[in-house]
Structures are given as structure tokens and as C-alpha cells.
């Protein structure tokens, strides 16, 4: 059995990687993927918790969180598509009609 | 609650104004002109009705009410006497949830202002009888009347403040829709300026609110109330340390002072006034100078002075300095003006300075004089502005240097100008003089030789008024000199309605100058009540 601590630490590391990725990358898709990494970190934590406490709800949470992540990707891609069709770019810093 | 005449005086005109406005607005375009004529008459009749109502209230002083024996914090036509119990019983509460009540009443301080308002409204309508879009114009004025009276009669600070701000809106539109060339700037400045100042006042009011706890009162979410009489009952006994002590009293006093000083206006927060006046239509100017400026003085007395006498004593010097600067500086600036209306506007600044001075003397006489000044200036300054309006209307200019010998072409106008100008410069037997004398006597008793400053200002006042008359209605040789703005048209005299309106003002200015006791006695009794019941204790505790 892998100690919950390890999983949680991995989760933390993944989370940080995702977060760093979010604001260092300019491409929308990559940013979306970084968010997914963060959500996976969450999943790891839930799994770790479920393991640690022997609680079944943790697994349920994980499953739902994955669903949420999927929904989020779907919405995100849809938005990026719409954006691309109007601007022909999904590089975040090139889309700056709205500011100040 | 709604059977009270004061409620009628307050809400009646607002609702009626709205109704008339809607009718005028909804009228079919083909008949709009005709309907508008009728509406104008109806509005005028309505305002006369209100005037007769307030006059009847006054006449009752000879049968029922004795204004001169009212105790402090006792009001006539009070719908909510003994507020703590009455409000709890639900007799006059407006929003229980945070302690707002519909509490109205008048005393020797507020009644003259109420009466003045009801008097000035029909007169200002009369003077601008032929305003464009008359129905809307007059309904706005009618709404204004309600709001103004609301300020003077409401004894609940929330309602007071609401009416206070509400007065801005009709005035704002009067300036905006009927104003001069530069009206946008003026209206904005007017609104922003007074609004900002009143926000500070609001802070003061809120602090007072937070300190006015009403433990017995169920259903009150905040456990506090805005009622002035409730505040007064805790503030008038010095030992109870209203507002948690003297320090807070001072702070609140200053906040209120800023709010009211900007309204009065006092130097250095006066610069909105000239612009607003110059751009406002005649009726707007008349009401602005006649009543709206008095709101500042009234509020100052009713709230800052009456509820925070200790702080007033503490800041006596500040008041004097403010008043003195307004007085002298305002007069000096008048001397440097070339626009008639602007000059008159600055003269208001100057005269309002006297009110601060009168209050700061802390003599019953001085305070009564200050209150009388409010009334007197409330009659004379509309007169001044009516004259200015006639110039604007018939000669299309207000530049002092652009015309000469106008009295030749417009003898009525010349006569009215003379009467108004003389009234404003403090000619005896006109209302302004009474106030000046009362304030000056009290001033000497309080400050001695400093009286030289206000006294010398009287000379400056005379100088700018005479100078402006000399340059407009006089001189010009046998031919006279018409302003270019007339474009060669035949000069005309004031129209009958202007003449009538100005005459009424002149008559009242003189009646109140010859027989000032009509109003002075009730003011005097109010101020004496205040001084002997409150101020003497404060003076004896605070001054040493």
C-alpha cells in the first residue's frame, strides 16, 4: 500500500506544476491542460484521503471530480473554438481587445 | 399621520407635481398647448392653496397656538409628539426595521421657512409665468416646494436627508432644461458640489444615528432611530454625553458644518453658487437663493447647533472666522464682478456669512437675528434675482457694462432694481436691516471692536450695489445705451406677471422691515428657549 502521504505530496507537486504552467504558458490549450493537471492533483488528494480514512466517499469524489474536469475541458474547448473562429488565434496574450 | 397639515404641505405638492407632470407629458401633441395653459393655472392655484394653508397655520397663532411660548423640542402640528412612545405604538413609523419615522412638526425656527417657501413658490411661478414648456416647468417647481418644505418640517434625520437630496433633483432639471448657455457645467457643478458636501453631513447624521439607541422599540433591526427629538432628549442634558462624549460631538459638528456650509454657502466651499445662479432660470435662481440656501442655515441650527451645543461653543471661533471671511470676502469679490447675476450670487455668500456670525455670538438676539436673516434674505434675494431675470429676459444680457440708462426704457424695472438693491444693502425699514441690526448688536456684545469688519462690509456692499445700478439703469445720457444683445429691438419694460411677482416681494420685504415682530418674536422665543435651556449650561461648563 502506498502511504497516503506520498500521494498527497505527489498531488501537491502536480498542483504546483499545473499552477506554474497556467501562468507561464501563452497557449490556451496548454493552459487548459495545466488546469487539468491541477484537477488531477485534486483527484490524487481525494484518493489519498479515501485510502487514509478508508472512506468510500473519497472515491466518489474522485469520480465526480473527473467528470467535472471533463465538463470543464468541454466548455473550455468550445470557448476556444469560438475564440479561434473570431480571432484566428488562441494565444492568450494576443487577445487583448478588452482591457483597462 | 396623513391628516397633518404639514404632511399635506410636504407630500401634496410632490404628488400633485408628479401628476401634473404626467398629464402634461401624456397630453396629445395637438392639444398640448391648451392643456398646458390649464395645468399652469391649476398648479398656480394649488400653490396658492398651500400658501393659504400655511398662512392659516400662522394665523392660528392669534387663536390657538402660541409660538412664543413653545418649549425647546416642542413642536406644533407635531404628528408624533413624545416620539419614543408614539413610534413604538406605530403611530408614525415609516420603516421600523431601522428606525425611520414620519415625524413632522414646526416651531419658531422652521415655521418661517415653511411659510417663506409657500410664499416664494407662487411668486416664482408668477415671475416665470411664460416659461417654455410651462406645465413641466411649474410642476417641477411644485415638486420642489414639497421637497423644500419636507426639509423644514421633518424631524427625522433620515427623512430630512432624503428631502435634502430630493430638492437637488428638481433644481437640477430646472437648470438643465431651462438654464443659460453654460448650463451643463453649472448643473453638474451644483449637483456634485452640494452632493459631496451632503455626504459628509450624512456621515455626521449616521454617527448621530448610531448613538441614538432605542431599547424599547421592537422590530427595529439596528436598535437605533433617526428621530431628532429622541436625539435631543439625550443631547440636551450635557451629563449624558451625547455621542459618547465631547470628542465625537466635535467631530460630528465639523462634519455637519461642512455639509451645511457648502449649502449656505460659506467660503471656501461656495464656488458652485455663482455658476449655478448665472445659468439657472429666474425661478430657479429665486428658489435657489430664497430657500435652498436657507436649508443650509436651517439644518445647521436645527441639527448641528441644537443637538451639539457644546461643540458649537467649542468652535465658536471657527464659525466667526468662516462667517467673517464669507462676509468680507464675498463682498469684495462682488465688487470685482461684471455680471449682474454673478454679483448678486456673491452677495448671497456675503449675506450668509452674517448668519454664521449671528449664531456664533451665542446671544439669543444674535441667533434670532440670524434666523431673521434667513427669512429676510429669503425674500430679498429672490427679488434681486427676479430683477436679474428681467434683465436677462428683456435685454438678453447680464453684463453690467453693456448697457446704460435702462431706467429710461424700463422704469418699472429700474424701480424694482432700486428697491431690491436697497433692500439687500440693508436699508432700514426693509427686512434685511432688522437682521443686520440684531446680529450686530449681539456681535458687539460678544466680540466688541471686531464689529468694524462687518460694519465696513456694509460700505462695500453699498458700493457694489450702487456701482452696478449706476452702470445699468443710470447714466447713458438722454439717449441711453442699449446692450448689443438686444440687436436693435425696441426695449420693453417688465411684463405684468413679473411686475406683480416683484411687487409682492417688495411689499413683504417692507412689511417685514417695518413690522418685523410678526416673525421675529417667534424666532426670538425659539432662540431664547435654546439659549437659556441649553446653551447657558454648556457655556458655564465648557467655556472655563
Amino acid at each position: 500500500m502506498i502511504p497516503a502521504m506520498y500521494l498527497a505530496s505527489l498531488g501537491a507537486i502536480l498542483f504546483c506544476i499545473g499552477l506554474l504552467g497556467v501562468f507561464t504558458n501563452k497557449n490556451g490549450i496548454i493552459v487548459l491542460m495545466c488546469v487539468e493537471i491541477m484537477l488531477n492533483a485534486v483527484n490524487l488528494n481525494f484518493v489519498a484521503g479515501a485510502l487514509h480514512y478508508g472512506d468510500v466517499t473519497g472515491w466518489v469524489f474522485t469520480a465526480i471530480a473527473i467528470a467535472i474536469a471533463a465538463a470543464e475541458v468541454a466548455v473550455g474547448l468550445a470557448i476556444f473554438l469560438a475564440l479561434f473562429s473570431s480571432r484566428e488565434s488562441i494565444v492568450l496574450d494576443e487577445v487583448m481587445l478588452l482591457r483597462n | 399621520m396623513f391628516g397633518n397639515p404639514l404632511t399635506i404641505l410636504t407630500l401634496g405638492p410632490i404628488l400633485a407635481g408628479f401628476a401634473f407632470m404626467l398629464v402634461a407629458w401624456a397630453a396629445p401633441p395637438s392639444k398640448r398647448k391648451e392643456i398646458s395653459q390649464y395645468i399652469r393655472l391649476l398648479i398656480f392655484a394649488f400653490s396658492l392653496l398651500l400658501l393659504s394653508l400655511s398662512t392659516l397655520m400662522f394665523l392660528e397663532s392669534y387663536s390657538g397656538i402660541s409660538w412664543t411660548s413653545l418649549a425647546l423640542n416642542e413642536y406644533v402640528y407635531d404628528n408624533c409628539a413624545n416620539a419614543e412612545i408614539a413610534i413604538e405604538a406605530g403611530g408614525c413609523s415609516l420603516v421600523d426595521g431601522f428606525g425611520v419615522s414620519w415625524h413632522v412638526g414646526v416651531d419658531g425656527l422652521s415655521f418661517p421657512m415653511v411659510w417663506l417657501t409657500t410664499l416664494l413658490i407662487p411668486i416664482s411661478m408668477l415671475v416665470e409665468w411664460n416659461a417654455k414648456k410651462g406645465a413641466q416647468f411649474h410642476s417641477l417647481i411644485l415638486m420642489m416646494e414639497g421637497a423644500l418644505i419636507g426639509v423644514f418640517v421633518s424631524l427625522d434625520l433620515f427623512v430630512f436627508y432624503t428631502f435634502w437630496e430630493l430638492t437637488l433633483i428638481p433644481m437640477f432639471f430646472l437648470i438643465l432644461l431651462w438654464g443659460g448657455e453654460n448650463r451643463k457645467y453649472a448643473a453638474q457643478k451644483f449637483f456634485i458640489y452640494t452632493f459631496t458636501a451632503s455626504v459628509l453631513m450624512l456621515l455626521g447624521i449616521l454617527v448621530m444615528y448610531y448613538f441614538t439607541r432605542v431599547p424599547v422599540w421592537d422590530g427595529n433591526l439596528t436598535g437605533r432611530a433617526f428621530d431628532i427629538t429622541l436625539m435631543a432628549s439625550s443631547s440636551n442634558t450635557l451629563g449624558s454625553a451625547f455621542l459618547g462624549g465631547f470628542g465625537m460631538q466635535k467631530a460630528v459638528f465639523l462634519l455637519l458644518l461642512v455639509g451645511f456650509a457648502a449649502k449656505m454657502p460659506s467660503v471656501p466651499v461656495h464656488t458652485w453658487l455663482p455658476d449655478a445662479h448665472v445659468q439657472a432660470p429666474t425661478a430657479g435662481s429665486m428658489l435657489l437663493a430664497g430657500v435652498m440656501l436657507k436649508m443650509g442655515a436651517y439644518g445647521f441650527l436645527r441639527i448641528a447647533v441644537e443637538l451639539l451645543p457644546g461643540a458649537m461653543v467649542h468652535y465658536q471661533l471657527l464659525l466667526i472666522v468662516l462667517g467673517m471671511i464669507s462676509l468680507v470676502y464675498g463682498a469684495m469679490v462682488c465688487l470685482g464682478q461684471t455680471n449682474l447675476k454673478r454679483m448678486v450670487a456673491y452677495s448671497s455668500v456675503s449675506h450668509m456669512g452674517l448668519i454664521f456670525i449671528g449664531i456664533a455670538t451665542m446671544q439669543p438676539l444674535g441667533i434670532a437675528g440670524a434666523i431673521f436673516m434667513m427669512l429676510a434674505h429669503g425674500i430679498i434675494s429672490p427679488y434681486l434675482f427676479a430683477v436679474c431675470g428681467a434683465f436677462k429676459h428683456h435685454y438678453h444680457t447680464l453684463e453690467i457694462g453693456s448697457m446704460r440708462g435702462i431706467a429710461k426704457f424700463s422704469p418699472w424695472l429700474g424701480g424694482h432694481m432700486m428697491a431690491a438693491w436697497m433692500g439687500s444693502l440693508g436699508l432700514p425699514l426693509m427686512a434685511g436691516f432688522v437682521a443686520e441690526v440684531a446680529i450686530m448688536i449681539a456681535f458687539w456684545m460678544a466680540f466688541g471692536w471686531w464689529v468694524i469688519l462687518p460694519a465696513l462690509t456694509l460700505i462695500i456692499t453699498a458700493a457694489y450695489y450702487l456701482w452696478s445700478m449706476q452702470r445699468t439703469i443710470f447714466e447713458g445720457g438722454d439717449e441711453g445705451q442699449l446692450p448689443d444683445s438686444l440687436h436693435g429691438d425696441e426695449p420693453v419694460d417688465v411684463s405684468w406677471h413679473e411686475n406683480a411677482g416683484m411687487f409682492i416681494l417688495a411689499v413683504f420685504a417692507i412689511v417685514l422691515g417695518v413690522l418685523p415682530f410678526i416673525f421675529f418674536d417667534m424666532m426670538s422665543s425659539y432662540s431664547n428657549e435654546f439659549v437659556t435651556e441649553v446653551l447657558l449650561d454648556v457655556l458655564n461648563e465648557v467655556m472655563p
Binding site: 483597462n100 | 432700514p428 456684545m445 468694524i452 453699498a462 421675529f520
Partner: protein, 769 residues
Amino acid sequence: MSDTKTSEMRFLPIIGLCLLFPLLRMFGGEMATGTPFTALESAFLIPLIPMVIFPVIAILGQMNHGDEAWRERFKEGGMIALCTLAISLSLTIWLAIEFFTKGSSFEDPLRASVFNWINFETITQDAAGNWIHLKSDSLGVGLWIDNVSMMLLFVASFLCFLICWFSLGYMNTDPVNKDRNHRFYAEFVLFTAGMLGMVLADSFLWLFIFWEIMGLCSYLLIGFYYERPSAAYAAKKAFLTTRVGDVFLLIGLLMLYDIYGSLEFAVIFGDPSLHGTVDVNMLRWALIMLFIGAVGKSAQFPLHVWLPDAMEGPTPVSALIHAATMVNAGLYLVARFVPFFDVTGHGHGVEGLGDVAILIAWIGGITAFMAALIAFVQNDIKKVLAYSTMSQLAYIFTGLGVALWFYNHGEHHAAVIAFGASMFHLFNHAMAKGMLFMASGSVIHEMHHAHHGSHDEMDPQDMRNMGGLAGKLPITSTAMAIGSASIIGIPLIGGFWSKEGIVAETWNAAALHGGTWLLVPAFLILLTAGMTGFYMTRMWMMTFAGKPKTVYADKVHEHTPWIPTPLITLSVISLLGGFALAVLGATHWLGEAEAFGTAIHEHGLVFAILDTIVHAFLPTDMFLFLITWVAISISLVVGPAMAMRIHGGRLKSGESAPRLISWILPLSSKFGRTQVDDLANSGLADALHRRLYFDELYDWAIGKTVIPLAYALSWFDKNVIDGAIKGIEWGSQKISGDVRKLTTGRPSDYIMMAVIGTFSILILLWGVI
């Protein structure tokens, strides 16, 4: 011409009826209360009726503008005014009768209270420093009629009536005034109300109130020809200059109120012990303040500059306001000082006020001399009279100063004489000067008439355009001669009786009672006596003697109705009134309230006349005897003789002066002739022409201080005060713009910011725990 003559006759019955107003009033009282109203009960009507009539005339006149009936039948309001003044006059006479029958006096004036103007309360600090309620008080309106006010009341209402009469001829026949006379009459009655009210007032406050009303009317009437820039300017100048004085007067009132706790004569003149000890220093300043007010109103140095310019007004105005009545207000006010000064046991005065009295005398002396000096060079007939007025008023001020000085030094008898003489001079001067102005008006009017229709410029007031009018204007020239004599103080005529008293008492005080400080005014007024002789004679000679200097002067003849009547009336009064009243003991009556005719009553008429003459010409004290005769000789001989030498001369052949004065003209040519061109072109004359530079000095001072300051302040207001507000607005907009720049538009920046926020929160929470 004859139409207007008959119109004069036609109106007489109406005026007569108006004079019967007291009967109506008595009857009214009978109807109302069962007992007839007394004169005192009706006295408030004296100022009230004119005051009410003022708007009536003004409004009716404006409404009936140009109406024929209004012009002819109502004389553009003149008739209404005249009737009003007749009523006031009749009430005054009624009041006078009651006054004499009741035997009222200074100590026991007629008093009536009308209503309380304002009621109020005051607080004060007690000895321990505690604030206490002082008292409930009121400023009331009431009447106070003692000898001086009775005299002045009569003078005022009588002269108002006469001058109004005069105006009907003078104003209504001048085409310049067509359709604007209603304004004149309205303001005229308002003025009357002011003057009568001031005299009747029972408190300093109401004295001041009516005083200001008069100031207003003076302003309005000086500016009657408002379209002339000079008139508008003069009106403004008059108002502002007197306003300066008025403001100080107001301050004086405030101080008096503080000292005595009241402004009513009854309280103030009562026993000062009622008010605790009076602070002498404070009282001194209060009186000085009041005196400055008087100086302004009576056109004394240094606030004298307005009076000569005030001659821009129509002549009746000059006659009434600027010679006979309003300018006397200042004197009346100073006369009211007596109770403050009187320490002789008859009053409750305060010691140590002698310096105020000396100040008053000095101002009087300086003004008298200065005005006479300037009058030397004036060519405008009205200006000469204006300076003469100033000078004569200054005499009275000197006399009052001396009287007050005596009062304050316990010299009751001398004080009474000086005071009585001063007040008597006021009377004489008012009558004479009112008449002189009317006469000059007559001259101007006729000159104007003669000039009317021609196209060249001619100033009808300039005496250099006149000359030789004595034959053409018999009534006017006689009246003017009598008036001048009265002013000069020709023995036995009018002003002599009072002026001698003033001069003598001044010297008496200065030389015999140790009033060293009074020596200067004494010298000055003595000198002025001679100068008066010079400039009055010069005026008369330039106008009436010699040959006509212009063609217009040759065409002049006397024909206007309404004008001669007042001239004749006043001539008689000026000629004989002085002497008659002197014999009756006017001086004592005015000074001490001794009943009229005490001397006659006790010693018989002949003795009384002799006694009066002996007193005047042969004072027992040798020094005063000397002074008296110096004064007589220089005013009777030196001054007039010099004037005749320069300006005198016979009339054109074929003309003869009226009998009464026909001896003067040959006499005037006897003194030879002096050319004064060199002198007239000298720097001194220039200085005098420019009124000793006072006007320029004031103009310069105001132009260099007040006006620039006013412009600077309005600049300051516009740019600094308003600018500060705008600056705040600009600053907050700037900050706002900077804040908005943080919203860069880049999502990565937003996330970066959020992460920073997250870590801040974490660190903060960590720190808290």
C-alpha cells in the same frame, strides 16, 4: 401763463382743507373712542402719511405716465404731495400747540409708544464669570418730542411744505422734467417721512432708521437726472460717503446698547446709576462713533466731499435736503449728546468727555474755514451755497462742541447759551438757506428759460453768465439779499442773533474758561465770519449786480407761478424771525426749556428788546465785547466790502432794483475795483477749485486699494479656490487611470495576480496563527 396762475389759486382751497386734517382726526377719535384724539396720539401720522403716500405717487405716476389729466390736474403727483405735506404740517402745528400748552420741556418731553419693533433676550457673564440670562428687551417704536425736536419738526415740515410748493412751479414747468415729476414728488414725500420720523424718534435706533431713509432719498433725488453720468456719480458718492458715517453711527449705537442696555432716549438719558457705572472710555468711543455719523450726514470734514456734488440734483432738492433739513440731522444727533455730557446737576452726564466736545468743535472749526475758503472761488451759484451750507453747519457744530464742553465742565449757564445759540442758528440757517436755494433755483430756472431753444452751450448755474439780474428778478434778488444777510450775520437780521452767540461762547470757552484747545476753532470761526461776508456778497454781486454778462441774462424775467410765495414767506421769516425769536428768548427756550417770552412776561416788551440788543452788542465782559465787535465788523464790513470791490457794480441803465435793496448797488460801486485775475490763476485758487484735493485723494486711495483688491480676490476665487476643487478632481481621475492600467487584458497576468493574492493570504493566515 395766466392759466397756471389761476391753477395755483384753484388748488389753494384743497390745500386749505388738508390743513384742517387735525379736526378730522379729532373727530375720528370722537367716533372711535368717545374722546378726541390728542395731537400726541396723532403724531405718528406725521411721518406715516407721507410714507404711505410715497408708493401711491410713485405707482400712480408710473401708471398714468403721460396722461394729460395727471399732468395738469395732479401736477404729476405734486398736488398729492403738497396735500400730504399740508397734513403733516397741520399735524405738526397741532402738536406744537399741544406742546406749548402742556409746557413740556427737556425733562418732560411728550412721549408716546407705538409698538415694539422686535422683542428679544440677551445673556451676559456675571462677575463670577458665569453666563446668565440678562434680560428680556425690546426695540420699540415711539415718539419723543422735546424743545429741540419740536423746533426741528416745525422747521422740517414747514420747509418741506414750502419747498414742495416751490417745486410745483419749478419742476412742473421745466420741460426736462416732463413725465418724470412723479418720481420727484414720491421721493420728496418719502424724504419728508424720513426727516419727520427722525426728529420724532424716541430712540437712537429709529433715529438711525429714518436717517438712512433720508440718505436713500438724498441718493434718489441727487440722481434725479440719472441719465447724466455726473448726477449718477454724485448720487453714488453722496450715498457712499454718508454710508461711511452711517456705519460708524451704527457701531456707536451698538456700543450705546452695550453700555446702557437700551437705545431709547428715556432709558439712556435717565439716571446712569440705573445701569451701574458707565465706562467713560467706552462711552467716549461710542460718542465719537456717533459723531462720525453726524459728520458724514452733515458733510463735515473729512466726509464733506459729497455735498458739493449733490448739487447735481434739482434745486428744490438742494434747498430741502442739502441745506435745510437732512444735513441738520447730524446736528440734531450731536444735540442729543447733551445728556451724556451734562454734569451740571441738571442731568446725569458723565465727566471726562471734554475731549469729545473739543473734537466736535475742531471739526466744526476746520470745516467752517475750509468750506468758506473753497466757496471763494466757486462760480456755480449752487456750489457757493453748498459750501456756505457746509460752513454754516460747521458753525453749529462748533457751537455744539462748545456747549457740550461747557456742560461737561459744569458751566450750566454758558452751556445753555451756547447750545441755544447753536440750535437757534440751525433754525435761522435752515430758513435762510432753504430760501436762498429756492431763490437760486428761481434764478437758474429763469436763466434756463431764457436760454431755452437756443443751441449754444450755456450753464444756467454759472454766475459768470449772469449779472445785473436785480432789476429783472425783483422778488428773487430781494429774497437772496435778505437770505445772504441772514447767513452773513448782518446785525439785526436772522442769523446774526445766533451766530454771535456761537462766536461769543466759543471765545468765552476758549479764552475765559480755560478751554485752550478750543482756541483754534474759535479763531477759525471768527475768521470765517468775515469770509462768509465775502463769499455771500460775491455771490449776490456776481448774480444781480453789474451788467448782464451774457445775452441770456439780459432776457431773463420773473414769471413762473408757485415760486414767489415761498420766497416771500421765508424772506419775512429770515428778516424778522431771528430778531423776534431772539426777543422771545429762543436761545433759552432751546437751551434750557425756559418758556417763551419769559423776559417779556417779566419786564415788558421794550425792556426785552433792549435787553436782547444789549446782550448782543454790548456784552458785559470786555473781552467778549471785543470779539463781538470784531466779528461784526469783519462780517459786516470787511468781507462784503472786498466782495463789492471785486464784483460789484451798477445795473444796466434803465433798470432799477427793487426798493428794499436798491441802495446796495450804488454802494457796491463805491468801493472801487480790484482785478483779481492774478490771484484767480494762482496755485491757491487752483487748489481751491479742486476742493483742496480731497476728492482726488479719496479717489486715488480707493482706486489703489479697494478696487485692485476686489479684482485680485475675484481672480483668486475663480482660479485658486475653484481651481483647488478642479485639481482634486483631476488628481482622482489620474489615480483611477493608473489603477485601471492594472487590468492589463492578459489572463496570465490575472492568474499571476491571483497567485500573488493566494500566497499573501496564506502568509497572512500563517502569520496570524
